[in-house]
Amino acid sequence: MKVNFVRMKSAVMPKQERERDTLHTPLLKVRNVSMAFGVLAVLKRVSFSVPRGNILVMIGPNGAGKTTLLKLISGLLPLQEGEIWFKQQRLSRIAPHRISSLGITQLFQDIQLFSNMSVIENVMVGCHLRAKTGFMRSGLRLPSARADEQSIFEVAMSKLSLVGLEQKALANPSSLSWGQQKLVGLARALATGAELLLLDEPYSGLLTDEVDKLNKLIFELQRQGITILIVEHLTDILMGIANQVIVLDYGEKIAEGTPAEIQQNKQVIDAYLGGGSLESERG
């Protein structure tokens, strides 16, 4: 019995359109996005675009609306105003899981690993979109379900070894260090096969050697063609890896450019850093 009553909405593009989607058009376009919780405006007409293969870093102090923006892109919050385009597909009124199936996934600031599962199972959940086995086939353990399971497992293991944690496959996530948990979260996100990775403060709480490891990993992912959007309030670490930097302050984009440009930007230094230099901002 095939178990699939997913509504095939406009979320999936026709194949031709997808092919027209060339490397030249940005992978992600955010246009005039505003967001308010009640009377509190969190984002004010923010626009930017991320070309394919870029690493975009968005910085801004706590409360600048960075996390909200990520949640709008991944669909966890409903878009109130403005447009978000992904691969020529407009993301509005699309459920988060459909957005994920289009190729966007997110690593949360608090990771949100599933503590009721082992590490490998966590990553296997990330492989959800790679198989179709439904309830009946799973429950009856049909050969097709087992084959699916095996392939999911292999993918999950490969992602886990990519982040160097295959030794911990059977551990419970809560027994890992914070840095290791971040890596598991990353492996889980990678397992979805997403083209755009949204990382919400991936560096927070990491030790120095873990930061280096993560940096290497991010470069490796970029090399594999994955586009990455990082949100961070620590700044100096990121300047080395970013292709493009955006500064948000109280919901407004106050600057955009290369790391070097941003470091020189007067407005950023005045408004956001209060006159201090970016280097001194290290927490």
């Binding site: 991944s74 459920a95 599933f114 599962m117 309830f135 799973s138 353990r141 497992f153 496959a169 059977l170």
Partner: protein, 345 residues
């Protein structure tokens, strides 16, 4: 590093602790199937009842323990199966087996429709909606006298029969109920360690899951909630159909809120982390009831109803206080912890 990758080419059985599970299934199957050899008809009757509770509770564990959604109205689905079976066999003269099957489909269909709307809600409010559903069901079957016999109940439901045995035979029922219970257990365990089961567990916010994380990984949480709900309703419906063909008389009072609450209590006390919890929880509560039925006349003599009620309430409270994770947590502690197999190689 590479050693580890090699060692884990296959899904380790220990990830799913499949070896232990199969052993436990085999053992309990043997125990359950041999009990009748040594027990009189009364304990077997009690065990048949326990089987019904076990099946419904397993559904509750799928819904609450896996998907993390609460239901206080599963007696309605139990009743839905029972009444659908009853109506189809007495009014339309279908074969009881066909009726059982159709009843499950019918109940599943109803649960799908309800679930589609209901899971726009979350948390405790689901308890309210399911409770109200139970009320609606109860009053409907009590009022539809022509179809269901109303408050008096429905009688003369034909028994299930197979190879010359009918469910007028107690042992036939015993084996039928427990074989189905074990099959559903295997189904549930398979599910637990599969793509669908992981998806369910990933969104269980009460047990360390996260709906947001599940969604950004591509899981349609609405669809999975509805599926968990439908499956649990179908479990209850199957139990209900067998119950109807076994007692051959059903009345609305059986399918009311107390039963809905009872199966949730069984799920909590058995433990919601695993379908095994259903066996433990049903065993504990039914054992307790029998113990009270047996001991109270000796302790206080004569009319004991109120004492039984008091003792039952107190023991329930004590059990919930001291076993918040259910009996299964003790079993999990007793079983040696899984070691990472990579380290072994």
């Amino acid at each position: 590093m590479l050693v580890g990758v090699k060692a884990l080419k296959e899904i380790p059985r220990k990830v799913t602790s499949a070896n232990l599970q199969s052993l436990a299934i085999a053992l309990s199957a043997i125990v359950l199937l041999t009990i009748p050899l040594g027990a009189g008809p009364y304990p077997i009757t009690v065990m048949v009842d326990m089987g019904f509770y076990t099946i419904i509770t397993m559904g509750i564990i799928l819904l609450m323990g896996f998907a993390g959604q609460i239901s206080l109205g599963h007696a309605a689905f139990f009743g839905c199966g029972a009444y659908a079976s009853g109506v189809l066999t007495t009014q339309y003269h279908l074969s009881p087996w066909l009726a059982l099957f159709l009843a499950a489909i019918f109940t599943g269909g109803i649960a799908t429709i309800i679930g589609r709307f209901m899971f726009r809600l979350r948390g405790l409010i689901l308890a309210g909606v399911t409770l109200a559903l139970n009320l609606v069901f109860f009053h409907l079957v009590s009022s539809l006298v022509g179809l269901t016999g109303g408050a008096m109940g429905m009688m003369n439901i034909p028994p299930l029969s197979l190879g010359g045995f009918t469910s007028q035979n107690l042992l036939f029922n015993y084996y039928l109920v427990w074989i189905i219970a074990i099959l559903l257990l295997v189904f549930s365990l398979n599910l637990a360690n599969s793509r669908a089961g992981r998806a369910l567990r990933s969104m269980n916010v009460h047990a360390g899951g996260s709906e947001d994380a599940a969604q950004v990984l591509g899981i349609d949480i609405m669809k999975y909630k509805v599926w968990a709900f439908v499956l649990s309703a179908v479990y209850a419906s199957i139990a209900g159909s067998i119950y109807a063909h076994y007692t051959r008389i059903i009345e609305p009072g059986t399918f009311f809120v107390p039963l809905s609450a009872l199966v949730v209590i069984m799920a909590i006390l058995g433990g919601m982390a695993s379908p095994w919890g259903a066996f433990l929880g049903a065993g504990l509560i039914i054992g307790l009831r029998e113990l009270l039925r047996e001991s109270m006349p000796v302790l206080v003599g004569g009319v004991t109803g109120s004492y039984e009620l008091i003792a039952y309430g107190i023991i329930l409270v004590v059990a919930l206080l001291f076993l918040p994770q259910g009996l299964i947590s003790i079993v999990h502690k007793a079983v040696p912890k899984k070691r990472a197999i990579v380290n072994e190689s």
